[in-house]
Structures are given as structure tokens and as C-alpha cells.
Symmetry: C2
Subunit: 235 residues, 2 copies
């Protein structure tokens, strides 16, 4: 049996012991390797996920093939929140951007439990609100910030969800996430490297100075993060 004190997921640790007890018997531990698909767009959702480590990308795609990341979450959140909103599917991809582990339970079980406890439901819905804020912030910065700022924001969001200062990611993946050219990412990385904020090696990015990186991200970073702290707790 899983004990609440061993959990890293902020939504699960934030539950009352009673609410956690409702979920615990159904939580199935699962390895979540890089590229593991949590949600297939426009297909019925079978499982709901609570991430313990690693990071998930939520990606929207246009019919012309172009796609862009609209949000990320890790141990701060849960996967397939859309089932909470009464839809068993969504048009967005969700997959592990950085490998890790977590728990899953069937969407059916989850919905049954949610109906038993309004406090548990409210915790999950507060996360939906924060995630909406993050998506809105993404819309904002995609329309008004230069690539360097958006990259800095992405690196910060990544660091918030992983304990490591260094994490695996290629320019190519970043270019898909940010919706820009691969070589534009390379250029932006060089800019941040030139300011000694990060250090990039093949397939990896390392944060050298988090505080100054936040300054480089400027107004692009912070609003959804403040909302998370207000409604759920520290990241």
C-alpha cells in the first residue's frame, strides 16, 4: 500500500489523509519513459496520471501539421484533467518530454472517487485553473515575446518541475515546443550562454544562474507560477 509521505506529487501530498486514502488503493505505479504517450488526441482516455518525476508536454496541432506546446506539468499536476471536465477526450497530445515515473488509475475509478469527495475534486479543479492560466500565458508570450525570452521561460518551467539543474533536451525538440525553427533555438541558446545563464551540451541544457535567468525571461515568466502557489502551494 502506498503511503502519502512517500509521494512527491504535489496534488496528492496536498490532499487530506482521508482523501488520499480514497485514491491510494487504485494508484498503480508506472515507469514513464521519454516519449511515453499519456493522451492520444481525440481518442477516449483510459487512464489518469499523477506524475512523480519527469515532465509532460501538452501539444496542440494544426491540421497543416504545425504544432506547439501549450503547457507542461510534472509532479505539480495530473494528466488527462479533461475527464474532470466531462469530456473523455481532447484534441491535444500529452507525452513525456523528460522521462520519469508516476501513478495512474483508470479514468472510471477516478471519476467515481471524485464524486465521493468534493474536497478532492476541488484540489484537482484548482489545478485545472492553474493550467489554464499557464496555457493563456503561453498564448500571450507566443504573440508578444522574442524567442530568447520564451526559451528562458521554458527552461525555468522545466527546472521548477525537476530537481536537477541539468536536463536532457535537444534543440530540435525545443523548436517543436516553441513553434520556431531549430536553428532559431540554437541562436537563442547561444544568446543565453553568452550571458552565462545556461550551458548547453549535446542533448542537454544546464542552468548556471537561475536568478538571472528569471530576469532574462522578464515578464514572460511568473503569472501561472504565482497562481499555483496561491491555490495549491509551493512548487
Amino acid at each position: 500500500m502506498i503511503e502519502q509521505k512517500d509521494i512527491h506529487n504535489r496534488l496528492l501530498t496536498g490532499l487530506s489523509p482521508a482523501d488520499f486514502g480514497l485514491l491510494a488503493p487504485f494508484l498503480e505505479h508506472i515507469e514513464l519513459d521519454r516519449d511515453y504517450v499519456l493522451v492520444i488526441p481525440n481518442k477516449p482516455i483510459e487512464y489518469v496520471y499523477f506524475i512523480e518525476s519527469g515532465m509532460v508536454s501538452v501539444v496542440a496541432e494544426k491540421s497543416d501539421g504545425r504544432s506547439i506546446e501549450v503547457g507542461v506539468y510534472g509532479r505539480d499536476g495530473m494528466g488527462a484533467t479533461t475527464v474532470l471536465l466531462g469530456s473523455d477526450q481532447t484534441p491535444h497530445h500529452q507525452f513525456m518530454q523528460i522521462g520519469g515515473a508516476g501513478f495512474r488509475l483508470s479514468a472510471v475509478d477516478f471519476l467515481r472517487i471524485v464524486d465521493q469527495s468534493s474536497t478532492l475534486r476541488n484540489m484537482m479543479l484548482r489545478f485545472v485553473h492553474v493550467f489554464m492560466t499557464q496555457t493563456a500565458q503561453t498564448a500571450l508570450v507566443n504573440g508578444s515575446s522574442v524567442i530568447e525570452e520564451r526559451l528562458a521561460r521554458w527552461v525555468l518551467m522545466c527546472h521548477d518541475r525537476l530537481d536537477a539543474l541539468e536536463f536532457p533536451i535537444t534543440h530540435d525538440f525545443l523548436s517543436m515546443m516553441l513553434g520556431v525553427r531549430r536553428s532559431s533555438v540554437t541562436d537563442a541558446i547561444h544568446l543565453l550562454e553568452g550571458e552565462m545563464l545556461i550551458k548547453a551540451t549535446r542533448g542537454h541544457i544546464k542552468i548556471l544562474n537561475r536568478q538571472r535567468l528569471e530576469r532574462a525571461a522578464g515578464a514572460s515568466y511568473g503569472v501561472p507560477e504565482a497562481e499555483y502557489r496561491r491555490l495549491i502551494g509551493p512548487l
Copy 2:
């Protein structure tokens, strides 16, 4: 007493008569003139709104002053959905982009009623899901579409929520909504006018050919709209 058959709001008309009966006694009719503010960012929300006519802009703002529209709704939706998600405030502005009318009720009354009927709550939550999809689509097109396409999308979304082919809007307002320069909007309008898709006069835009306008919007338009039809019904 307000009767359901007289209502234009799609969420209210989609409710069962019993669920509508729970809300009806609390609905207060209200004129919603242009620029009327429904939600002040980071301030407690007093009222929840159901729009009957007109259109609301939801706008996210960066601390450097730049802001951008992250979504719109009208008779298809409700205002201040964030109270459904357990937060009495949100970082986003909401104001009437195009004047109209609607109903409001206090957030407290609304939450009490929502707790009484899970079918009513589910209807509202399905709208939250669709609105999230719209925000995600905005993030997508802000990052990957040229202004002309984004403008076409905006005009289509406006038409979906108003019965009129013509509606009042200035280039200046559009530039704030799309997050671009005012004169870039002028240029994009001229492009669409050149293809005989719209006709712009001082302070107004008129749709000449909706079908071809959808083609001009390309892959920017359609995903959230399909999700609305799937989960709630025709616009």
C-alpha cells in the same frame, strides 16, 4: 420569472428544465454595454454571467504592459468560469468587446446551485473544457500563423457568436486583441478586402463571404468549434 424558451444562451437552453429551474430565480437581467468589465484581474469575483448577446474578450496581460486576447465567448458560454474551479479570482481581464445583454447571478448563489446538481455542473465544466481548447488554439496560432489568418479566425469567431454579418470594431482594438501593431491590422484587413472576403468601414467590419473566409483562416480555425459542437451543441 424567466422562461427557458426565451433564452438565447446555449448553456442555459441546453440544461434540463429542472436544472434551469434551479438557476432561474437567481438570474438578474443586465445590459452589457461595450467596455463593461465582467472580471477585474486578481480581484474577488462577485458575479457569474450568462451572455445573451454581444461578445466578451478574455485578455491576459504581461507585467511590461503588453496584453493579448486569450479567448472570446458570447451566448455560447458563461463568464467567470474560474469560480467553478475553486478560485474566486483570475489574472485575466474580461470585458464586453461588443455590447449586448445577459444575466448575472452572485458567485455564491451559483456555487450553491452547482453543488445541488451534478448535471448542471457538468454542463458548465464541459464549457470550461471547450474554452481551454480555444485558449490552446490561440497559443497555437499566435506562434505559427501569419496575421492575415489570425484576423480571419477572429472575424469568424465573432460571427459565430453574433447573428449579424457586420459588427463594430476598430483596427486599434483588433491590434490589442491580436497582439500586433495597429497598422499591421490595417494591412491584413486590406488583404482580406482584396480577396472580397470582408468589407471594412470606419469602426466596422462586414463579412462578405463566410465560406471563403474560413478557407482564408485555414488550419487556424475550427478545432475548438468542433469541440463545442461535440460536447455542447450547435453554436
